[in-house]
């Protein structure tokens, strides 16, 4: 496909702008990580990390999210091939995996809250729920975006605008994956092992 210069310029502007926004999101998560680091010892006599974190469960969530990143990558390959069907299939798979991730996370939150380890119990739990929950919220928003984009691709095909939005969405999705790797390491692994 050949593109007009102003279209390329518009794409490069959008990608730059979105990437800048992602960097602000990175700062946001950094502040949440810093808060977690300072407050994770503030258990106020209540449950501590190794008492409440479940390693296999966290690993399952990780695998699901990584798989969803893979299927998101597949959607970009399909887009490059010009196959809107391929894109929709890959995005649907990504959506299911991402949705499963969110459901699993919510179920873990519910289990903890029911067992006296809710966010209002101590500073440690407040910072855990908020850090992990903010990531989950971003994933959920990504799912809404994904659904809307699928509707647009279904209705209009792989237009220039849809291609651009797909590129931005996949940037967002991979970014959330990276944040999760940090969460898995700093919150779950360190919390269970150290």
């Amino acid at each position: 496909m050949t593109y007009k210069p102003e279209e390329l310029a518009a794409d490069s502007k959008s990608v730059f702008g979105f990437f800048t926004y992602l960097m602000t999101d990175l700062v946001l998560f950094a502040a949440l990580f810093a808060t977690y680091a300072v407050l994770h010892s503030g258990v106020f006599g209540g449950p501590e990390s190794e008492q409440i974190f479940n390693a296999p469960f966290a690993l399952l969530e990780t695998v699901i999210l990584l798989a969803s990143s893979f299927s998101c990558g597949m959607s970009l390959l399909a887009a490059r091939r010009g196959s809107s069907r391929g894109v929709l299939t890959s995005l649907a798979l990504t959506f299911i995996l991402g949705g499963t991730f969110v459901v699993l996370e919510l179920s873990e939150f519910a289990r903890l809250a029911a067992n006296g380890a809710g966010p209002g119990v101590s500073a440690f739990l407040s910072s855990y729920f908020t850090l992990v929950g903010t990531h989950g919220l971003h994933v959920a928003i990504g799912l809404v975006w994904m659904a809307a984009l699928c509707v647009s691709i279904y209705a209009r095909g792989l237009t220039r605008g849809n291609m651009r939005k797909l590129a931005l969405l996949s940037l967002f999705w991979h970014f959330l994956d990276i944040i999760w790797i940090f969460i898995f390491t700093i919150v779950y692994l360190a919390g269970i092992i150290l």
Partner: protein
């Protein structure tokens, strides 16, 4: 939960104002809104307001709206000043002034919040919107719709903080609401929640503007305009926007965490529960210190333009100035702890941050010397922008000395939170940020409107502000040394403070007359606009690209996008004195209007109000509304319209007003 509790949350008649002054505030807000609505209806101007202003994606329109909102909020902020100064001049010994302690505390908290978030930030984004695209040879900002949404989020925040006058109360914990005072245990009313959500919503608007203007500078400079050929104002905006994108997410997090403590019973900053109130102080100042540089850098940029133009000379030390900006940007991340040396971090930590704070004075001093040497062997015209600059140098230098004193931790141990501190930061913000923005508004006014601001009233305003400021804050420096801490609503006569507070009240009154002069200036200028037109587009004999088209600048800014070969390109163009041949005009694409921005703002206000009053169904309505507006906008493919070449030609050849 009863049905009425579900519908109304925590709202009740008890939320209405409690005393005469508070009722006065509420009635002014309600009355003001009604008067504006009535006037628009009377003049049958709804169509015009909606089409030309509220839904416009033209940054020149958005910029004017930012400034108008800031002016309105400035009225409230100055009124707060009047109340505070009267209270502190009269509440001595057996007398307790005109305000209760609680009301006084709400007022100083509102004063600081309004002045920083809704006056200074509003002026800054307004001026950047008006000037930045023109200066870099672009037609618009990078993301015009995002620009509109940002403005309406800013306005939503302003709406919320004004709603707090009508229903509910405001925070009594100062403009930064330190916990545990701001936690539910010590502040059980709606006040702190109003503070949180008006700042949070406006803050998101600011963050998005930061992304927008950053992308504009990086991606939309005119062809040939390398970074080192950009005007100095554009450089300062660049530095400020880098600070915005790094700092504002921290504010978002901090406000969110405090809100989670208050609304969902979490324990980030509570005294018990394992919370750490010192974490809040660190986080809020990790945002707060860059914030003051976000405000001052564009003001420095304005002074660079003003001094160069009115000295008739190019800016001295351009490269040095650029390095100074980035030194300031970098260093502003290494000084935040100087806001709480007295919190007991230990000598090593305090000394480090004190040294870093002193270091940041170096690039600032460099800038002042470069401005002075721009004047050297120039031909200086003392227009009111130049007067604002001179007032700035005098006051800012002295306030800077106070700052260097405070940067020494052991000096700060005495002066922290005293009126010396209050005088210092007001000196920096008023003489630096405000004088700079006043100069900028006067300087670029003709380009935006096609006529000049009345110079006589501008000069009167300057002298009233200058003398008023010295009288209002000089005594505060002395009071700090006399052991007067800030935020007192009452004190003992034996301390000997009262006469200084009286002088300060006189100074504050002069400042208000200065502001009044500026309002009169605006009215008179509009009335006399045909007598003071800008007929050439270059009323000051300027140096940069924004002066290269007619005034007021047309919607598309440049009929033909410029190609740049030099710094101060316009000055070089004039020197070369190329004959102005009519260029070949082409069709120009500009953004269509969009109502989604104002709708997002309205739904954001609903979100804030819903959370503040625990009206959860309203919160859902707000969230769904914002999401729907965004999604609908993304589905909109028809977002541009074309101005045909013939229309461009017609506009370019029009006589000025």
């Amino acid at each position: 939960m009863t049905l009425s509790h579900f519908i109304f949350g925590n709202l009740s008649f008890a939320a209405l104002p409690e005393n005469a002054i508070a009722w006065g505030g509420a009635l002014v807000v309600v009355g003001g809104v009604l008067v504006v609505l009535a006037l628009i209806t009377f003049f049958n101007a709804w169509g015009w307001i909606w089409r030309d202003w509220l839904t416009s994606l033209d940054p020149k329109r958005i910029g004017i709206m930012y400034i108008l909102v800031s002016v309105v909020m400035f009225v409230r902020g100055l009124f707060d000043v009047g109340l505070m100064r009267v209270q502190q001049a009269t509440s001595v010994g057996d007398a307790h002034g005109i305000l209760t302690a609680t009301h006084f505390q709400e007022i100083f908290s509102a004063h600081g919040s309004i002045m920083i978030f809704f006056v200074a930030m509003g002026f800054m984004f307004g001026i950047v919107n008006l000037v930045l695209p023109l200066q870099i040879g672009a037609r618009d900002v990078a993301f015009p719709f995002l620009n509109s949404a940002s403005f309406w989020l800013f306005s939503a925040g302003a709406a919320l903080i004004n709603l707090s006058l009508i229903v509910g109360d405001f925070s009594t914990a100062g403009w930064l609401s330190y916990p545990p005072l701001s936690e539910l245990a010590y502040s059980p009313t709606s006040g702190v929640d109003y503070w949180i959500w008006s700042l949070q919503i406006a803050g998101i608007g600011s963050l998005l503007s930061g992304v927008n203007f950053l992308a504009t500078i990086v991606k939309m400079r005119a062809r040939g305009m390398s970074y080192m050929k950009m005007p100095m104002f554009a450089w300062t905006v660049f530095g400020a926007m880098v600070l915005v994108v790094f700092a504002f997410p921290v504010l978002t997090v901090t406000l969110a965490l405090l809100s989670l403590d208050r609304t969902l019973g979490m324990h980030f900053f509570t005294a018990a529960g394992g919370g750490n109130m010192m974490m809040y102080v660190n986080l809020i100042w990790a945002w707060g210190h860059p914030e003051v540089y976000i405000l001052i850098l564009p003001a420095f940029g304005i002074f660079s333009e003003v001094v160069a133009t009115f000295s008739g000379k190019k800016l001295a030390g351009y490269v040095s100035m650029v390095y100074a900006i980035w030194a300031i940007v970098f260093l502003s991340w290494l000084v935040w702890l100087h806001h709480f040396f007295t919190m007991g971090a230990g000598a090593d930590v305090n000394a480090f941050f004190g040294i870093m704070t002193a270091v940041i004075a170096i690039p600032t001093g460099v800038k002042i010397f470069n401005w002075l040497f721009t004047m050297y062997r120039g031909r200086i015209r003392f227009t009111s922008p130049m007067l604002w600059f001179m007032g700035f140098v005098v006051l800012f230098t002295l306030g800077g000395v106070a700052g260097v004193v405070l940067s020494e931790p052991v000096a700060d141990y005495q002066l922290h939170n005293s009126l010396f501190l209050v005088a210092h930061f007001h000196t920096m913000i008023v003489s630096g940020v405000l004088f700079g923005y006043f100069a900028g508004i006067t300087y670029w006014f003709p380009k935006v409107t096609g006529f000049h601001l009345d110079e006589r009233w501008g000069i009167r305003a300057f002298w009233l502000w200058l003398v008023g400021f010295i009288l209002a804050f000089g005594p505060l420096y002395i009071l700090g040394f006399m052991g007067a801490t800030r935020r007192l609503d009452h004190y003992d006569p034996s301390l000997g403070w009262q006469w200084l507070f009286i002088v300060a009240a006189v100074g504050a009154f002069l400042i208000m007359l200065g502001f009044l002069s500026q309002i009169i200036q605006l009215v008179v200028s509009i009335r006399d606009r045909k007598l003071n037109p800008d007929t050439t587009g270059d009323p000051w004999y300027g140096r940069t690209l924004e002066w290269s088209m007619r005034s007021p600048a047309p919607e598309y800014n440049f009929a033909v996008l410029p190609e740049v070969t030099e710094r101060d390109e316009f000055w070089e163009m004039k020197k070369a004195a190329l004959p102005r041949t009519a260029p070949a005009y082409e069709d120009i694409e500009v953004p269509r209007n969009s109502g989604a921005g104002i709708l997002i703002g309205a739904f954001a206000t609903v979100i804030g109000f819903g959370i503040i009053w625990h009206i959860w169904w309203l919160l859902v309505v707000g969230l769904v509304g914002v999401a729907a507006c965004i999604i609908m906008r993304t589905f909109d493919e028809d977002t541009e319209r074309v101005i045909p070449a013939a229309e461009v030609a017609r506009i370019e050849n029009m006589k000025t007003i």
